[in-house]
Symmetry: D2
Subunit: 178 residues, 4 copies
């Protein structure tokens, strides 16, 4: 089934049906850190989405649900395309091993990750993107930061739901000081 | 919420309710390879469950669903205890990074993993167990094999659903020839 | 120091000097599996070098020593360029975490890996290459195999020093059946 | 060859001989974070060594060289035993995949890691210890910190050579906020 068909299938599920599943099982997500790399594979830029959330500007990773019957790599591609546009040319990692797994609970404090809507378990990947990125849908903008800028506590305060922790964990996995 | 309470909550979900979730979203699993290790951390034994499935003996990894509101490490403990008994003393890995992620589809051939009941996504971990293991529930027996025995093609043919592939991937991650 | 300068510095070390180091400490290597990937990140081709070794054709991974004062990612680039040519456009992994570490001993059987010249410890990475590859130096040819072809036991018999084991471990890490 | 014999062999190498190797090739190290874990595998304590370095108290990870002809897991055991004593009962990870690789250069600033004596490349592992730890040799003391305490910037300032970065990277790999 192509990502397009999956999008349609998802549209067929009513809000109510999704909510029913959310009440019964953990929901599978992918959390994605889009990065720019140079010729030596060094990360030179980290892409964060800017969104307007409850009248306040927040930053976040690319993130989204894995659909029924959807391959993980198709979910990764679909969410990057949805948020960065169709010309982003993401280089999906060839291995399924995530650099970490984030457990989001509706109750804050159970883990560093929090999602008021649901219990979600998210596989986290770093994805180099080689093309032109244009923020889509409800994202106001996409900001590219250097790895050094991405450690700024003021900036990290703009990330909700524990995405500041996940960003630091990604930087750590990349070998950067944090 | 303790594993016990979660077990109860799960019991409250009717078969019908689980089936409804299975029709809508991928179901999150853990696949676990129980191992014996020596003082140097070398794996000396690999535990496989023997079950009677459709009148034929099959071997399989410890495997099971992550429940709503359950931490991954609690799911790992619960399933090991369920299959190996309460005295197995599993050493749950301190890091959430799985060695691989297995995608099970109801249609055979989409991936090496197959589950006729559902689309399941499983985080795979190797878990040393230090205590006494006693097979529980519907498991006939628990067989400890050396890493060399675990590569035997005849034995691997007894593993269904792609568990033979997952076992080889675990051996590869452990540094053994496969 | 640039890879070019490092090459020169290395040239200054006589064979005797390298042999002296080999007698005292483990020598650090990188083992590299060049792969072709499609737009979804699926590995479609695996590059193996064909060499003439002692009058017999052998296959091997790209492999080589990390030089004094050389960064790991520069060693990865240098060895890929040396064997695949300057137009291979390798995508060096952004994270330093290798998928495995191979320990080569001069005595066969200590580990699955064997190097008659030395005790070497090798960090293993999978590296997508996007450009044109042209075998260089003493390599006869570069053969691209599908992941399925790469599992052929007859072909694996052409890999010396445990590179057959390392190739299978890489396939396992990529999620392929092995 | 047993760790004991290796220790002897190492003793045979004069300071001059080691220095000669240091001038020619990167030296292979292991960096080890000893941890206490509870029954669910949650890290509850992180062990840092206190040393007197140049008249000032510093904290550091367990760290040391891999010897000629020594297996990685034997080097891990030897260094933990050397610093934590013979009753520490370390649980050496069954897989050789390190959580990161740290590159130490004699010139500060090339990477976050710095070693004035040499170019060293270090495989980093988290190692649960189950027994009694007693600091040995030139270590003044071993301090057990909670993961929260280990994030204290004042404490992190006591770690030299980039061990503060490595400690944070280990916490990130364990899933803790950093």
């Amino acid at each position: 089934m192509s990502p397009l068909e999956l999008g349609r299938e998802s549209a067929w599920l009513s809000r109510e049906e999704i909510d029913q599943a959310r009440d019964k099982v953990p929901i599978l997500y992918v959390d994605l850190l889009p990065v720019r790399v140079d010729d030596r594979g060094v990360v030179t830029g980290i892409g964060l989405l800017l969104r307007m959330t409850d009248g306040r500007i927040t930053r976040e990773l690319v993130s989204g649900r894995v659909l029924h019957h959807e391959r993980l790599r198709d979910a990764i591609l679909r969410h990057l395309e949805k948020d960065l546009g169709p010309m982003a040319l993401p280089r999906v990692p060839p291995s399924p091993q995530p650099f970490t797994v984030a457990e989001y609970f509706p109750t804050p404090g159970v883990t560093p990750f929090h999602d008021p809507r649901q219990h979600a378990v998210s596989l986290a990947y770093i994805v180099p993107v080689a093309g032109d990125c244009a923020p889509q849908h409800d994202a106001l903008d996409l900001a590219w930061l250097t790895p050094e800028e991405a450690r700024d506590p003021l900036l990290l305060a703009d990330l909700d739901r524990g995405h500041d922790v996940l960003l630091r964990q990604a930087l750590a996995h990349l070998g950067f000081p944090i």
